[in-house]
């Protein structure tokens, strides 16, 4: 199954790029061997998701996903270019699934993108994380998505029916992680959750249509939490597994386990970068698939 990762790159000078990419060490190469070749070092954000998805795809024996990214350091220019490109070129977006990531939340653009994709026949699987997940919730169309991958803080935002952004999540919902099951229930009651959730945290929860079908809490590597990009690595893993054709809940469970093995094998300190984890993706995923 072909898959498209849609997100941004934290560089103001990075042009809009759509197509194949490869991972070489800690660097992504987009449009390789072409005049408009672009390179970006993997640190966090969408490049981290792309890197882990490519490494996992190699293990699974499938082509790496394609990517649609543009440079955006918060102005929204790159995000809007990505949104416009998707809408204007929807006839060329024939992927079985898409994973949306770091994009400036914009409800009007979100709705145009969602409706254009839903009009495709067959409609692709839709996974959302980070800013685009915020837009999906803000828009009222969360239930139209196949998968969200929130962390505990973002889960509280999904559960808060009036919060327009995690910054405004009400305090009584922002408690410790042991309240996640309650937050899941509340998010579904308000129809602010996707059909499936993979909630990242001390315990990872796999949720299907409001019912928790798996909880994964071992191996537990606390140092993974502060490392920027470890949530992106989990989204990258589940992206590759879905692209391999794996059933949704199994893909979520396997991805959660693989991300934990990634931490266990790398034995990181809180000062690690996600690029330090890349050499361990293969063994981590193989172990999760055993």
């Amino acid at each position: 199954m072909s898959w498209l990762i849609v997100g941004s790159v934290p560089r103001a000078d990075f042009p809009l790029v759509r197509g194949d990419y490869v991972l070489q060490g800690d660097t992504l190469i987009l449009n390789g061997r072409h005049a408009d070749e672009q390179r970006i070092r993997v640190a966090r954000g969408t490049p981290a998701l792309m890197a882990v998805a490519a490494a996992a795809a190699e293990v699974l024996g499938i082509p790496a996903p394609q990517a649609l990214v543009a440079g955006d350091i918060g102005t929204g220019e790159g995000s809007r270019a990505v949104y416009a490109h998707l809408v204007e070129n929807i006839d060329q977006i024939d992927h079985a699934g898409l994973t949306f990531h770091y994009l400036l939340p914009d409800i009007a653009w979100h709705n145009q993108v969602l409706w254009a994709l839903e009009a495709r026949n067959p409609a692709p699987l839709l996974a959302a994380d980070a800013g685009f997940m915020y837009a999906a919730k803000m828009s009222g169309y969360a239930a139209h998505y196949d998968l969200f991958t929130p962390d505990a803080g973002e889960m509280a935002f999904l559960a808060d029916e009036v919060a327009p952004h995690p910054f405004y999540t009400r305090g009584f919902l922002l408690q410790e992680e042991d309240r996640v099951p309650e937050l899941i229930e509340r998010a579904y009651a308000e129809e602010n959750a996707a059909r499936h959730l993979l909630v990242k945290g001390k315990t990872d929860y796999v949720v299907a249509q409001g019912t928790t079908v798996a909880e994964i809490s071992a191996p537990d590597v606390p140092a993974m939490e502060p490392i920027g990009g470890t949530g992106d690595s989990l989204t990258g893993l589940v992206t590759a597994l879905l692209a391999s054709g794996m059933e949704m809940t199994q893909a979520c469970r396997t991805a959660a386990l693989a991300n934990r093995h990634l931490g266990h094998l790398a034995n990181p300190t809180p000062a690690f970068g996600v690029a330090d984890l890349l050499p361990f993706v293969r063994r981590a995923l193989e172990r999760a698939l055993e």
Partner: protein
Amino acid sequence: MIGFLRNLFGKKDDAKRGVSEKGLLLYHSTGEVIRAETLLKEAGVAVAVKGPPPDLRQGCDMVIEFPLLEEMRIRELLEQAGLAPMRVAAAQDHLLEPVSLYHVKDFGDYLMVRAANMKITMDKRDRRIVNVSGGGCPDVPFLAETLVGKVLDQAPEPRSLGRTLCGYSLQLAFEELRRRCPG
């Protein structure tokens, strides 16, 4: 065409469940509202002057509606011009307040502070920022690359570079970290 028709006829029930992406700037006087609106429009911010909800009338019968996600940049622009608002509220529910709860985790040599969806981690031994994680807006990876590796006292404040509410959450976590670990 499909999108146009859906705009006209479709998804009404779903749309009712959406929440506003607008915020409100409240001032004591109409003059301040007008000056602030002028400044923001000149800066290219999509703002509109509106009548406030009855219970938000705190001495001014006008509020400025603005894109909530740009709150950080807007606050910075207004503060630089001496036009800081009396209050900022979310249009969705004016009782909503920005996050004020912090979660702190001690990893021995490292301390992590979380505000809303943003986390910042420091090495206690040399007060160097070692990681920034969480968030979803595109300024977050950019801010992280700017902050990581810098000593807490010498690092730029996230609000000086960030542009979104995720950046503002990081600013709050940054301030809390400095409060807990004064140099």
